[in-house]
């Protein structure tokens, strides 16, 4: 066996990147029962000989992961282990700033530093302390206030937003109790487009079965998450930080005239239809309540005062010496973002600097312009949603001539921000009307968390296919959709084809996946997205796919449709 190792040493001296050699070494080491520690030393020897050895760094990551996982002696103190590894890899990063060998290893160390092993509830809906009114006395879904929520029907969504994908959310592990007999058999669904029965976001609908039930006194509803065992992360860690939210449910007498929706005129997304959100004197407290309580206070996980913060701080100072090159700028941007991530309850402090760094990177490394742009967008949205002031500056009332009330539905306008990727969904669970027009979006992945969404504008973005609109399949309240002025039908290559639930990815049951008629086959992507939606208004103009026959197909598919491209449907 030693001969084999000798042979391998010869081969690796000639070609340190030969993966057949590394694979064979792994095979021989296992046969010889060589310890992971000894093999780890071998990788260090290889790295000492030449820092530019990605294969050695890779093998080191495998061995180290194993040693930490089995809590081998000498590898139990994460702070010690990671500090030593940071020292080792920084040498590689600083020796040749263009050599990628250490980049991915360093990123892995950062992830190991910041990641919380525990599945935690990050935010939920309804928010602690809010008031839910069922059904709305008059006016549309949604109201002037940010903290008082009206629903036109006798049901509304409950949403749980976790820090990672979890399974096991059901009526045993999440209990919803109310003053009267609510049907406790709530069906919680994971909002994910795969069969794993796991998701970061879970939702259910709370329905009041007795149509006549109403009361002058509100009911107190308590949602308890994780008081019984059963919720587990996809990495196998049990949920162990139970949390509780309560809100008030006001059951009003149903209005005499039904179908208030027929009073809803055609929604226009023009600037003059939106009035500034006026916060009266009572409002700031309610808004603060919303924003404060949207994020669940978890006392576990890394915080600003732990070893994680010490490491991030230390590394940031080191990498500030490398700000004249790509990897230096990128690493500092990541470290500053990580630091803010460690303090989820505080306002992020590094957004401005991180945004500047990504802007500089877009200029320095134009080949990867869109990578930096997407990250820039995520930070921008973090910044917008991080404070009451910035969020309110994007809130408007929708003004419609058919409405008698002065304050129309509350709308969040994130238009004209040049954002190319969406994020911060945990902060937006309350949103009902969302304007994302005039941006550079090509995907809405994550938007399924916004279960209250009833009106959405995606006009003038970069959507290329209906498969990019997968999230809409989970928005059961969506009535108004504007996807005009996009690129649907102009691209031969569909980049979200396999991220979409369809027969192609074997992610649909044989019944659901059945398409019988020709036009549905021709427009199968649109068919699967729209078929179960109750849209009343749809705008498609300005997409290559829009045509007479497509409109015929749409009208057949959407019997509830009242307006198509601004024209009344018969």
């Amino acid at each position: 066996m030693d001969k084999e190792l000798g042979l391998l040493d010869k081969l690796q001296a000639m070609d340190a990147r030969n993966f057949h050699a590394w694979n064979y070494r792994r095979f021989v080491a296992a046969l010889m029962k060589r310890s992971d520690e000894d093999e780890l030393e071998h990788t260090e020897n290889m790295i000492d000989k030449n820092l530019s050895n990605y294969s050695a760094w890779h093998n080191r990551s495998v061995l180290l992961s194993n040693l930490m996982k089995k809590a081998a002696p000498g590898f139990t103190n994460k702070e010690e282990v990671l500090t030593r590894e940071y020292e080792l890899v920084c040498e590689a990063l600083f020796t040749d700033e263009d050599d990628q060998s250490g980049w991915f290893y360093h990123l892995w160390l950062l992830d190991q530093t910041v990641r919380s092993d525990f599945p935690l509830l990050v935010s939920s809906w309804p928010v602690e302390g809010s008031d839910i009114f069922l059904p709305a006395a008059d006016c549309l879904d949604g109201c002037a206030s940010m903290n008082v929520f009206h629903y036109s029907s006798r049901n509304f969504p409950l949403v749980l937003y976790f820090n990672q994908s979890v399974g096991g959310v059901n009526s045993s592990t999440v209990s919803v109790s109310c003053g009267f007999n609510l049907n406790a058999d709530l069906i919680w669904k994971p909002l994910s487009s795969n069969d794993s029965q796991c998701a970061k976001v879970w939702a259910t609908r709370l329905a009041i079965p007795d149509a006549e039930l109403h009361s002058s006194e509100p009911y107190q509803v308590e949602v308890k998450v994780g008081y019984s065992l059963g919720i587990v992360s996809t990495t196998g860690v049990a949920y162990s930080h139970p949390s509780q939210t309560s809100f008030q449910l006001h059951l009003q007498k149903p209005p005499l005239e039904s179908g208030h929706e027929s009073r809803l005129g055609k929604i226009q997304w023009k600037d003059d239809c939106f009035a500034d959100y006026e916060s009266g004197s009572a409002e700031p407290d309610l808004v603060n309540l919303l924003l404060d309580n949207l994020t669940i206070k978890n006392e576990v996980g890394p915080t600003a005062s732990t070893w994680q913060a010490r490491i991030i701080d230390y590394e940031t100072n080191i990498f500030r010496d490398l700000l004249d090159c790509k990897i230096g700028m990128l690493t500092v941007a990541r470290l500053l973002t990580a630091y803010d991530l460690l303090r989820p309850l505080d306002k992020p402090v590094h957004c401005e600097e991180v945004l500047e760094l990504y802007s500089e990177l877009m200029k320095l490394d134009p080949t990867h312009y869109r990578y930096y742009k997407d990250n820039h967008s995520l930070v921008l949205l973090q910044q917008v949603t991080s404070s009451k002031e910035s969020l309110l500056s994007h809130c408007f009332h929708y003004r419609d001539s058919t409405l008698s009330t002065s304050g129309g539905p509350l709308c969040l306008r994130l238009n004209n921000l040049a954002i190319s990727q969406l994020g911060s969904f945990g902060k937006l669970l309350w949103v009902q009307v969302l304007d994302l027009s005039n941006n550079g979006l090509q995907s809405i992945e994550g938007l399924e968390a916004l279960q209250r969404l009833s009106q959405l504008c995606l006009r003038n973005n970069k959507f290329r296919s209906f498969t990019a609109l997968e999230s809409l399949r989970y928005l059961k309240s969506l009535k108004v959709l504007d996807i005009s002025q996009n690129e649907i039908g102009s691209h031969s290559i569909d980049t979200t084809r396999y991220l979409f639930r369809s027969p192609l990815s074997h992610s649909m049951g044989s019944c659901d996946g059945n398409i019988n008629d020709l036009s549905s086959k021709a427009y199968w992507e649109a068919f699967f997205v729209l078929k179960d939606m109750g849209l009343t208004q749809l705008d498609m103009a300005g997409n290559a796919i829009a045509s007479g026959s497509f409109n015929v197909f749409l009208e057949k598919l959407l019997p509830t449709l009242k307006w198509l491209d601004g024209v009344q449907v018969n």
Partner: protein, 313 residues
Amino acid sequence: MGELAADKHVKYILAVEKRKDNFESAVLEHLRMNGAYWGLTTLDLLGKLDAVDSNEIIEWILKCQHESGGFAGNVGHDPHILYTLSAIQVLALFDKLNVLDVDKVSTYIAGLQNEDGSFSGDIWGEVDTRFSYIAICGLSILKCLDKINVERAVNYIISCRNVDGGFGCTPGGESHAGQIFCCVAALAITGALHYVDKDLLGWWLCERQVKSGGLNGRPEKLPDVCYSWWVLSSLTMIDRVHWISKEKLIKFILNCQDTENGGISDRPDDAVDIFHTYFGVAGLSLLEYPGVKAVDPAYALPVDVVDRIFFSK
């Protein structure tokens, strides 16, 4: 630089297809089935599949089938999962999957799955995630995915996932663009892309684009036209292809053409071959180059061929 010399490449492929008695075809005799797939798919992408005699080719393919149900690289050679997939893919191009005894072929493929969910290439046992992809891709085209244990197959692939977001050939194996394509495509076909960290892998993949505009297969290696497929299709499947510079890559691929005699090589000014010709053209297809039909990033076949398999009765 300029343009895609499509006609020259078609002529080159047809010439290679006809030549069976020169040195090159002799040393490549054992993988002629792969060569058929590379050449014919390129012809289809360039709209010239009708330039060949499909009946002649289909006859030859069937002669390569072994009694085990698997296909060999050429007549008289041993069967292997590699050539079995190429055979299935070529028949799909001609819309002649019905000449197959589907049960026989699918049983051969399914029989190569091991206890741990991995797949061997043939009876001699080599295990590699490439074979996982081949089995899943082939059986999916034949509508027989249920003949294997998909859950175990997916779990094995996940066990080959690395901390950089990429995948290796076996557990612990270093991330390599070729293996990444195989694993990502297999996960795409089985509806399991949620096991891929798109942002993490997307960054690793987009950093394959080097200064010349070409793509390499792993860090600190030279660019090669074939990675225009392995890297690009992976990026396409996880919706991160916008993280590279498409213009620079198009320029690189076009520079690898032999515009006089046809064909594309691994790097500018090197000798051309069918393998790199296919991956260069397939890469241009993913970059939406005009005049090239759309290719499906998971099945590595024209989109209209894949849609024909899944969306018609």
